[in-house]
Symmetry: none
Subunit: 193 residues, 2 copies
DNA sequence: GTGATGCTAGCACACCGTGCTAGTACGATG
DNA sequence: CATCGTACTAGCACGGTGTGCTAGCATCAC
């Protein structure tokens, strides 16, 4: 097995064991039984490693991803994927229950290291998914390539806002407002607004 | 001037110059002309610095109606105004307390008509302020006139997301992420992105 | 043989946040 | 006056991060 493959396998294993793993150069290299220099050769930047790994993971789990269905405009696909992230937030009564759960686990208790780690795992997982979608759309030219981190954070913030608004009382049509807001956020990220 | 004040002033200056600045321990200490140990004494963790600075910014920048001050770009003014809405959300421990309050009053209880009305009053008040700012900016041509409702809802959703993220554990720089996200939202609304 | 190329190993550098210790200024207390 | 405790400052050390660089080792073409 080539070094490149050993590296990817080690990194995947580390991610699988602990979702909050940071995948540092030295840790991955050691785990793979490879030198840092070798890792650097195959993945010139740490970002490259993360990207390749991310693509590999999602390629494996979601062979036919809606993000790749080119029969729809990019913005529609991204919105649909974001809704997927939003889905566990529930609606109506379920949304309130979901927020009760979230509040009790992440906000109410003192932020011990354990609480922090648990939440950051959730957050990072969501970020990974969003980042993957953005990179997939960037591959087909729907948005410029580069550092997606700010855009990812932006979208996650919008999702957080929408999810809390699902638990709060609302006056008008939640669906319409939510859809409009989602498209605004997506249009900004894709530059299609 | 005390060290603590010098540190906060230096950090504020660095943020003002470049909103994407990272505010590392040594950079801030050097800029303030104090040692890293001294900085550590006043702010035991880097997160503490960020939180106090954020709080300082919010309490310090309270011009009565900055939206009409044409000496600043429209986007800066709008961001500054939105921060005003975000201010009651608090920072750090206060943010968690604030969310406890919000949760207990608006999410936890069954949404009786009274609860609904109370929340909607808040929401409408916030919406009114945002809409006022948008119309003021539209009057000077910073954005097209028309129906601001979708844009207002969009901005309020972003603010909701940011406020809940203040109460949740965070890994990186809250200040930087929050500023970037605010500017993204504002740039989209103003079409300046 | 002689290079050129692909890959590996490993060190060096410049950062980062944080812990720790020695030292200084100063007011309260004996 | 002397002494102690407290508030503060300075600065180093440690372990962590990503990245650049050089030297070495195969393997193939000529």
């Amino acid at each position: 097995m080539g070094s490149r493959e050993k590296i990817l396998e080690a990194a995947a294993a580390m991610i699988a064991e602990d979702m909050t793993a940071t995948l540092s150069v030295r840790a991955v290299a050691a785990r793979a039984g490879v030198s840092t220099g070798s890792l650097r050769f195959h993945f010139p930047t740490q970002r490259a490693l993360q990207d390749t790994l991310l693509a590999r993971i999602y390629e494996h789990t979601f062979p036919d991803d809606p993000i790749r269905d080119r029969s729809l405009p990019a913005r529609d696909r991204l919105v649909s994927c974001l809704r997927q992230v939003l889905a566990p937030a529930g609606v109506g009564e379920a949304a309130r229950k979901a927020w009760e759960q979230a509040y009790r686990t992440f906000i109410a208790p003192d932020p011990t290291e354990q609480v922090r780690a648990a939440y950051l795992a959730h957050e990072r997982e969501a970020a990974r998914r969003v980042e993957y979608w953005l990179s997939a759309l960037a591959a087909e030219g729907a948005l410029p390539q580069g550092d997606y981190a700010p855009k990812v954070r932006f979208l996650l913030t919008v999702l957080n806002g929408l999810s809390v608004e699902r638990a709060l009382p609302a006056d008008g049509s939640l669906l319409k407002a939510e859809t409009e807001t989602l498209y605004m956020a997506v249009d900004h990220v894709l530059g299609t607004g």
